[in-house]
Structure formats: C-alpha cells, structure tokens
Symmetry: C2
Subunit: 194 residues, 2 copies
Amino acid sequence: MSTAHALLGLLEPAPRHGYDLKRLFDRYFAPDRPLAFGQVYATLGRLERDGRVVVASVDQAEGPERKTYAITGAGERDLDDWLRDPIDPEPHLQATLFTKVTLAVLTGRPVTKLLDAQRHAHLARMRELTTLRRDAALPVALLADYALFHLEADLRWIELTAARADELGRVIPPLIADPATAEVRPTSVETSHA
Amino acid sequence: MSTAHALLGLLEPAPRHGYDLKRLFDRYFAPDRPLAFGQVYATLGRLERDGRVVVASVDQAEGPERKTYAITGAGERDLDDWLRDPIDPEPHLQATLFTKVTLAVLTGRPVTKLLDAQRHAHLARMRELTTLRRDAALPVALLADYALFHLEADLRWIELTAARADELGRVIPPLIADPATAEVRPTSVETSHA
DNA sequence: CGCCACTATACACCGAGTGAATAGCAGGTC
DNA sequence: GACCTGCTATTCACTCGGTGTATAGTGGCG
C-alpha cells in the first residue's frame, strides 16, 4: 500500500540505492513478505519521472551500476502531505465476504456453510497470530494486533450475517433470466465519498 | 476484489452480455461505486481466454455486436471452489496505518498528531455510515456494518498504538546514514502463510 | 431537426506486482 | 586453481486490475 511513499520516507533521512531501500522496507514495514526487487526499481523509476527523487550518484566501480537516489523538495512535500493527511477510512461500501454471501444467495447455495468455513479459517489464523504475538518485539506485536482486531471485526460481522441469513435470502431480489424483464432500480446510496 | 468470480456467479443462473453484467454487479455488490465498463469487458476477455466462459451468441441486429456470454463447466467448477474455500484471513502482517506511524518515528515527526488526525477522520466516517445505515435496506445495512466494525477495529488499534507511542520511539531502530554500518538482522517472523 | 440519453463494446494507457535474467565479486571447498 | 554458492545490484518482459475515452446505433423529446 503506497510503496512509493514508504520509499520516499526511507530516503528522507539519507540518500540510498535501491537494494538498500528494499532491505529497509522489508525490515520496517513488511517483516512478513519481502518486497520484490522489480517493484522497488519500477517505483523508483516512477518517482524519478515525477521529480520526487533524483539519481544523486552512479558508482560504476567495475560492477553493476549502483545508483544512489535522493529525495527532492517536491518529494519531501509529497511525503509531508501524505503523512499529515489521514487515510480515507473505508471509503467504499464493498467487501469480498459480502460478495460471497450475496452470490451464495443468488445461486441457491447454503449461506451458513460458507460462513461456518470462514469462521473456522478466521479462528485458526487468530490462534496463529496470538502465538506469534507472544514473543514478538513491539512493532511486530502491533502488526499482529492490527490483524487480530480486524479478524475480530470480521467475526462479529459473520455472526451478524448468520443471524440475518434467512431475512437476506428473502430480501435479495432474485436474478431474472430475461434481462428485459429485470427492473433496475438503483439502490440510491449517497455518501460524501461518492 | 475478485471481479472475475463475481461475474462468473452472475453468469451461472443464465447467460448474459457485458452491459447487463455491469448493471447487476453495481446493483448487488457495489451500490456505492459502479464498475467501469472497460473492466467488465477486460475481465470477460480473460475469462474467455481461460475457458471459464464462452460467447454463446452474437446478436448483430444492425447495431453494435451484442455478445452473450455463458459460463462453462470449468467456470462452474471455479466458482464452486471459490465459494467453498474461505478467504485467506489477514494473510500478511502489513498495514498502511502502521507504515505511517513507523515512518513518522523514523523521520522524527510527531506520532500523536498523526494518530489524532486519523481518529477524527474515522469518527467522521463512522457518523456518516451510521446515518446511512438507518434507512438502508438489509444488504446495504450489512455493508455499512462491515465498514463500521472495521473502523472500530482501527480505532482500537489507534488507541493501543497511541499508548505505546513512546515505547515505540525507543524500540524502532533508527535509520543509519551509512548503509555499510547498518546491521541488518532479520526480525524472524514465521507464519504458516509465509 | 437536432440533441440528449441509453445500450453496447473496444482500445489505449497506467500503476502495481511477479519472475526470470544478468553480472560482478567474495568465500569456501575438493 | 577450478568450481560452486551466495550476496550485491539492477533490468526486462509480462500480467492483472483499473480508468478514461472513442465509437456507434437507437429511441425519445421539444
């Protein structure tokens, strides 16, 4: 998520080259899943193109080019804005879990089975994260907490939806074979984010 | 999120053409933000290439080609698997909020200010969603609940992190200017998902 | 008669991300 | 000392998801 800004942030204290940035990124932001090299250089390329980063020096000491990147004024402004402005919180009403449930209803599959399977997967992952959390350093513990909180949120939603499953089955307008007959009335959802 | 499977699901009860799928998708899965046409046809193209749908008929009644798509056996199997298998729950330890906090620490910015701004944005969005939820039909209400639960999860995490802000500042290893001096010891995070 | 809105699709483009290829250098080993 | 492994460092080709725009016919309305 916003790899570009993370790289900018790592470049602010001091210029660095791509390989270095990749390791720092992995260490600080994604202890779990390392950032692919390709992505680092592609992102740096875009940042350079947009004037947020410049190549400060090219070490050509008889080897592969070692390009050192440095943040620019525009880059610092961009980073500052990004850190100051809060993330847009849940801007759209959309969720994969909800899509699955709706699709199950529409195609006549049992909703409860789907929700049960998901609950089990969630509980298993929560046990995993709780274990991992125990002997983790603070940053990793915070990341585990973040995941755990959101898994709990999912679980609450799963229970709520399970309780409403019958009603949902009655309420969701069924798919009609002939498109011409299908009356399309927009659900009229208005949000300031829309 | 998995637009392809959603389209497959809409195609299972009856063959349809792209435009129709787009409207159904908007209606059932994203009352908020409509699916772009380009994406529908691109996705259908990939599905056709992979043998999950076929063009059932081409109405060429003196207008633009009206291709009707139908799901195949492979497509039904794929859909069935997707609906049966639970979503991988929070598979990686990563969060934009955490990235921001870490970056603030690393670049010497005040963490509390960042968290305060985010809390306000979250609370505002929660008020918005609560209002919307009141006179919404069940499906939209469930989507709003989903968002609200996750906003609550974020808020809990924000409070937790705010309480640990000082400790975090002490614990996060600072960025060292010279990359050669920077000792990189992997954080050794192991998960079955890795 | 001209304009707008609707149905319907295609095309060009961009960002994010993956995986393989390349290439030099350091260190250990049989 | 020939070979292999592993590390530093970057590039390239490719796919996917997604946005925006162009195209084109049709029906209604003033």
